[in-house]
Symmetry: C2
Subunit: 225 residues, 2 copies
């Protein structure tokens, strides 16, 4: 249990709460720790959201399955991020999509009443909470923009640009499979494959199963406005 306390103190949202308080809240049940294994479902689509959750470790994704059974990853949340922040106080507090753990995941659950109490007692906490919720909402907004990015090439460029900065190299190691990448950007695997082949023909990239090398940065800068 103490290692959980440590994790809670590390999370940006909860680090302004005293350890003794945390212990108290856990013992009285208004804070709770849940653990999930890989591919466990954290929340089903339509489930009522009645608690705020903070990811203490691991990774969850929000996925959408359309009528034809195609999978699309809408968002990915890692340690320190919150779930349900936008839902909890909403008039229609139902998870709009299924949330799944993609790795062994530890989640802290905060009861709604306790949360509201924390807002009143701890202005620092309220400030962090608002910041988190706001950032999430803008992430969702970006996501819209991202989907308005309609061509596959644009989506690929976005991804490459992001990874290029992250890995600080033009030779990008693929941390996920191409199949997963296709799901991430919401296109067919074969269409992604085709577009990558086109980009190779045009001399923009080189690639194999494990990596993509960017040959001309100019176009990326142009495309990713």
């Amino acid at each position: 249990m103490n290692d959980y306390l440590e994790l809670i103190k590390q999370a940006a949202l909860t680090n302004s709460i005293e350890s003794e308080e945390i212990t108290l809240y856990i013992s009285e049940g208004s804070f709770k720790i849940n653990t999930y294994l890989k591919n466990n479902i954290v929340h089903f689509v339509g489930e009522t959201c009645s608690k705020l959750e903070i990811i203490l470790g691991g990774k969850v994704t929000i996925e959408r399955i359309d009528e034809s059974g195609n999978l699309m990853t809408i968002a990915e949340f890692l340690s320190g991020e919150i779930l349900g922040g936008n839902l909890l106080f909403s008039k229609n507090p139902h998870y709009p999509m299924t949330i799944t753990a993609k790795q062994p995941t530890v989640i802290l659950e905060i009861n709604k009443d306790r949360l509201f109490q924390l807002f009143s007692d701890n202005h620092e906490f309220l400030k962090s909470y608002l910041e988190f919720v706001s950032d999430h909402a803008t992430i969702l907004g970006d996501r819209i923009k991202h989907y308005v990015n309609k061509t596959i090439r644009e989506s690929v460029m976005c991804y490459l640009d992001y990874e290029r900065r992250k890995q600080n190299s033009n030779n990008i190691r693929l941390e996920i499979t191409k199949k997963a990448l296709a799901e991430k950007i919401g296109v067919q695997r074969t269409s992604l494959s085709r577009e990558l082949a086109k980009m190779r023909n045009e001399g923009l990239i080189k690639f194999d199963a494990e990596s993509i090398e960017i040959l001309t940065c100019d176009d990326i800068v142009k495309t990713v406005s």
Copy 2:
């Protein structure tokens, strides 16, 4: 000025604030009233958001113009709704898209510090605020789902279903022009026109310049899941 006070007392978010307080806030400048004419720009894309705004009357829309100059209406906000609620406390508080008044519009502007103070002083207000922000975020979420609705037919079905319920009739009077409808669902006018023609050929609808009549409800129910 008194008529504004009246409007402020009517808005769901602010109706828990006492009239005297409101008057005080206005006189000290932490509340401010702004008015806009039709097609005035309320906020430019990229502008920093430093205040919360409440629409007291009129209508604003959030529009996106893509590289090719095509217009798409992302959202529409009416009296009582708030602007900037998701931005204000965000780390990157810039309006992601331009906000335009579509009618003569009156907006109440609340200073960030005053807002935070109100959260502390008035828990009812905090609750309403959280509810508003949450609902907005979920609206944005729906909007994603809406854009994932990729075929024009699906978007049209959605619109027809919505209007059918609203007007309580299968013979739907078009309150907006077809051009505007095309912008609303983010497609070319001609493509919408073509799709409507197809649906007419298939015996699903009849239409003219002012109305669309739904002939078979079944498909709508099937399409709009």
